[in-house]
């Protein structure tokens, strides 16, 4: 079993890595406040203060928080399913959220607006949709014991709910634009309440995940090993799945379907560090935040004043870097070479 006290050289290297990521995050937030709608505006330092605090700061922080949530969710998913391809949307939450948004838009534009709906809003519909999809996957897989069954249920639920969302899009073509922009993801409309919400969810999820992380370390050695260590595997699995779904749903509801951050962040962390899950979970958080925060900067700055969908950028940048890392691995290690050919 992984000892609770890894060699000090690892420990200090990981601390250094965490410090680097934190510095990067701070730099991203500072730049995010400076970067306006006309691209970089270093000159006009006395620029509108309210513009910075009301629009730029919340959206930059929101991007970092959403990224951190996705990073954490991705690391949890990969640990729970012991599968490096697992990502936060594995249990169908992405399709569920899309369906929720599509339903919400149909209600908004084609039916009388009820008080109930006004309270929930599109954000609420995305959140509910994401949760409903996960619940459905769990129901179909009869619980959490069988990883493979759960994965399969997630894929099926994802496909079915995605198809239902497409059906709605065809029946009500007027909602196509809004649903598509949700699917591409955007950090442009994150305000302070959303930041607060995501911050609270992140704090809670991070504490729970870190507290339950020894289970993931045990699980990495195999199901039976984890059980033989006396860990309450089943309960912890439920707990971590709940945390995973909460993180994903919170991020998706506020920023839409942001691709790749959840998949790439844990990989980027693992390529640079060795250690127990307690550390990799936290570092994935920071990495996810940095990734999405940086992508948000690029989305705003590259073609200002036109904004690119931030999800497209995360896929290009995160994916590109990941490919580069994999290239490094394949050329340096013989073990991977065989698998490639």
């Amino acid at each position: 079993m992984n000892s609770n006290a890894p060699p000090t050289s690892h420990q200090s290297r990981n601390m250094g890595f965490a410090g680097l990521l934190l510095l990067g995050l701070i730099a991203v937030v500072l730049m995010g406040v400076q970067l306006g709608s006309e691209g970089l505006a270093w000159r006009s330092v006395q620029a509108d203060w309210t513009l910075m605090t009301d629009i730029r700061l919340p959206r930059t922080l929101g991007a970092c928080l959403a990224g951190a949530l996705l990073g954490l969710a991705g690391a949890l998913a990969q640990g729970l399913f012991r599968n490096p391809l697992a990502d936060p949307y594995l249990l169908g939450s992405a399709s569920g959220a899309s369906l929720g948004v599509a339903l919400g838009m149909v209600m908004l534009s084609h039916m009388g607006t009820s008080l109930w709906f006004v309270k929930v809003g599109i954000t609420g519909m995305a959140f509910l949709g994401a949760w409903a999809a996960v619940a459905l996957s769990l129901l179909l897989s009869w619980g959490v014991q069988h990883t493979l069954r759960l994965l399969l249920a997630g894929v099926v639920v994802g496909v079915v709910l995605g198809a239902l969302a497409s059906l709605l899009l065809i029946m009500y073509p007027s909602i196509q634009g809004s649903v598509q922009s949700f699917m591409l993801g955007s950090t442009a409309y994150v305000g302070w309440p959303a930041c607060l919400l995501m911050g609270l969810v992140l704090l809670l999820s991070w504490l729970l995940a870190v507290a339950a992380s020894p289970m993931l370390d045990g699980l990495a050695l195999g199901e039976s090993t984890a059980q033989s260590l006396g860990l309450p595997v089943r309960q912890l699995r439920w707990l971590l799945l709940a945390v995973l779904s909460l993180c994903t749903a919170a991020a998706v509801a506020q920023t839409g379907l942001i691709a790749f951050v959840g998949l790439a962040a844990p990989h980027l962390v693992r390529a640079r560090m060795k250690g127990v899950h307690r550390q990799s979970l936290s570092l994935s958080c920071l990495m996810g935040g940095l990734l999405l925060g940086g992508a948000d900067l690029l989305a705003r700055g590259l073609m200002a004043p036109i904004e690119l969908p931030v999800g497209v950028l995360t896929a290009i940048c995160g994916g590109g870097y990941l490919l580069y890392l994999m290239h490094g691995v394949t050329t340096s290690s013989r073990a991977y070479k065989g698998a490639g050919s």
């Binding site: 306006g36 709608s37 509108d48 513009l51 009301d54 629009i55 730029r56 838009m105 908004l108 534009s109 009388g112 607006t113 006004v118 809003g121 065809i170 029946m171 073509p173 007027s174 909602i175 634009g177 809004s178 598509q180 922009s181 955007s186 442009a188 409309y189 305000g191 302070w192 309440p193 004043p305 036109i306 904004e307 969908p309």
Partner: protein
């Protein structure tokens, strides 16, 4: 209080001094109460079913829906527009205004920088909640039918605090109706009652009888093959159109190019008699928008009908 009627009617001058005095006193007191309520502030229920109170005349208006900007301009308040969405292109003045993206990707910061005191947008606009949380007045108006359009024109006039808003909106509407009647009278007799298929968007999205386009077609005496029960803009099966065998087809220029190649479509009467009308993108803007140019749209359609039936 009836929001649509900010009572401005005053008793007419009668000549009798006593009655005049009484009347003017009544008037003054009425004006006083209205100064605090109706006359100075307007309450409008927008299409989100939300009540929006507009206290003073908005002088910096942003429109994120082309048709709403067109209504503002037609009401003679074009100079109050400070920004629009990227699709707005009429009237000419609007083209020079800052473009703020679309309904789904509104450039929030650029919009806020314009310091608008009223933003007109559609129900589906993504920025609505965010704008409201930043303290910007938002009015979601989405004319779906010609009745809606009449209401929206009135609501925009009231929201802008235009003097004699009701009268102005009414005049604008009557004007549109007059032009529609003129257009309808020009429809060639042979075209009356002809079956028509109107393709509003690529991918077989038809303008049904329930849409504002359908209402115009009906007024011109044409028979829509897409009935009222099928919805406003349903996506129809190509085979449905072949079976319905329309005598006239209206569609966009680009879609018209390979109309002949659509399987089975060469049998359709409209294609055999070459009664297909294709609109250029500029014309399509007029025809497809639910704005104040629906009468011009009707004229374009009639022009085309006349060309078709003169041959």
């Amino acid at each position: 209080m009836n929001n649509l009627q900010p009572a401005r009617r005053m008793p007419p001058f009668t000549g009798h001094f006593k009655r005049f005095c009484l009347a003017s006193m009544l008037c003054l007191s009425a004006l006083n109460t209205f100064a605090q309520t109706a006359a100075s502030s307007v309450r409008i229920q927008d299409d989100r079913a939300r009540w929006v109170t507009i206290d003073t005349a908005p002088l910096r208006v942003v429109s994120l829906l082309p048709s709403l900007g067109e209504i503002v301009c037609e009401l003679g308040a074009c100079d109050r527009l400070v920004g629009t969405d990227r699709y707005s292109n009429w009237p000419e003045r609007v083209k020079q205004l800052p473009k703020l993206g679309g309904l789904d990707d509104t450039q929030l910061e650029a919009l806020i920088k314009l310091k608008p005191d009223l933003v007109l947008l559609a129900k589906s606009a993504r920025a609505t909640d965010r704008l409201e949380s930043l303290g910007v007045k938002v009015l979601a108006l989405e004319p779906q039918s010609q009745d809606d359009m009449r209401r929206v024109i009135l609501q925009v006039a009231q929201a802008l605090h235009l003097p004699n808003a009701n009268l102005r909106a009414d005049q604008m509407w009557q004007n549109i109706q007059r032009k529609m009647d003129v257009a309808a009278a020009r429809v060639p007799a042979a075209a009356k009652g002809a079956r028509i298929y109107f393709e509003a968007g690529s991918g077989y999205f038809a303008a049904g009888e329930a849409s504002y386009i359908g209402e115009t077609l009906k007024r011109l005496g044409l028979r829509n093959v897409v009935g009222p029960t099928m919805g406003a803009f349903p996506q129809v099966n190509p085979e449905f159109v072949v079976k319905a065998n329309p005598q006239i087809i209206f569609l966009g220029e680009r879609a018209a190019i390979d109309l002949q190649n659509r399987p089975g479509w060469h049998r359709i009467e409209a294609l055999q008699n070459q009664r297909v009308c294709s609109f250029t993108p500029a014309q399509s803007d007029i025809v497809v928008r639910s704005g104040p140019r629906i009468a011009e749209a009707a004229e374009l359609m009639v022009d085309c009908l006349q060309r078709m039936y003169s041959q």
